[in-house]
Symmetry: C2
DNA sequence: TGAAAAGTGTAACAGCTGTTACAATTCGGT
DNA sequence: ACCGAATTGTAACAGCTGTTACACTTTTCA
């Protein structure tokens, strides 16, 4: 476990023995979960720090009408709900569910606070993590603010295109992407179809080939 | 100044003499600004912690097409861009501009880090501030995810209605509200007109009277 | 007080998206 | 290799929003 944890952002810069030494001083436990388990409901109080050790989680916002917007997918060894452990109302902003079997390390809030005070590097890491979180949410807002589906697709693809590869691997299916974009699945498929007919890209299962990056860029103006 | 600062979230729980004592140990300075000054551009690096002492700021996201989305308005003695001081890419997520003359206390990042280590209460306050920030952004996402303008208006008004007052004071004009909602001004006005004709509310300059809260609530289902 | 600026109400139209439904294709497990 | 499930493609239609333009009202400030 400590080898996983040493790669975790919260323990960045610490050697496994150092991590072990810290964890001895801080009560903690392991929580196992299974695929499709609902680990937390939006609005529920966040009482523990959680570090994902194995498996895959997703956070999803569901509004009153039942529309769901997938905010993020979490993979080990990320912290879960890091930005929501402190603050006036420390409540889950999303429904947290498991996409695969796994386990996580959980530390009660007061114990976690103690952990932060035990090692300055951990504290600094935590500051960085919640800041990254805020930045992530902020980028999310700016992304969701794109008016059209064309713009969202263009932005999404160009983000991954920078590296110069014409082919962009897709880790998610259209349904999942549509949820991340906050749009309906058939609407996404329609726009993809249009972009293909215009010769801008070719969307296959599992990957997209950018055939005309210039036109794609021009969508974002 | 220290009396203002003692009401600031970052110095919560500290007496003015204690604050003074801390500030003596931490280099800082005052930055004055005028109405409509552009204090920071989105993408610019955040190099200092900023505490607003006087005046009013706004943070606005502007996308490639020039659409702007007002994220928040800041009043003293709040911290500015608190969630963006640390993290991998500490960059402004918004254009920061002054809505009124004012001044702020600025502390260079390394000095601010030192301040955090000097007093545990300040550190704890800061953790709470960025967590609140993350929660704010998260609520913003969930708000922007409402599909229709009707829903946004309903949610916005019901937030302020809880206290039982039928009349809700409006601190912003329609243009400003439309920017917060991420919609066009005439579209907002149109929907307001519809809601009025349906007898649900009466929208006057500076205030809204809720005439039928039940129907308003039913919009959010 | 009067003129300019800011704010608000309204309309018509085009464009985009959600919804629903179904067909076609591909995938996964046996 | 087969079958059921999951994924993707497509269509028609209704509904909502953005755009643009202009009239009207209120506020601001000289």
């Amino acid at each position: 476990m400590n080898t996983i944890l040493s790669q975790s952002p919260i323990f960045k810069g610490l050697q496994p023995p150092e991590i072990e030494n810290l964890l001895v001083q801080v009560p903690h436990q392991i929580r196992h979960f299974h695929k499709d388990d609902l680990l937390a409901v939006a609005g529920e109080e966040v009482k523990t720090a959680m570090i994902l050790l194995e498996g895959k989680l997703q956070g999803e916002m569901v509004d009153f009408s039942g529309n769901s917007l997938k905010i993020e997918e979490l993979i080990p060894p990320q912290m879960v709900a890091a930005g929501f452990l402190f603050g006036k109302k420390s409540r889950f902003p999303v429904n947290l569910s498991a996409m695969a079997d796994g386990e996580m390390l959980i530390i009660l809030k007061p114990n976690f606070t103690r952990l932060l005070s035990l090692d300055n590097r951990v504290l600094n890491n935590f500051l960085n993590i919640i800041s990254d979180k805020a930045q992530f949410l902020s980028r999310k807002i700016s992304f969701l603010n794109f008016k059209t589906i064309r713009e969202k697709i263009a932005f999404f693809l160009l983000q991954h295109y920078k590296s110069g590869f014409r082919n962009i691997p897709l880790k998610q299916n259209q349904q999942s992407l549509a949820e991340m974009f906050g749009v309906a699945r058939p609407s996404l498929a329609r726009t993809i179809g249009e972009l293909q007919r215009e010769g801008i890209l070719e969307w296959r299962r599992g990957e997209v080939e950018i055939k005309n990056a210039e036109v794609l860029k021009s969508i974002l103006q």
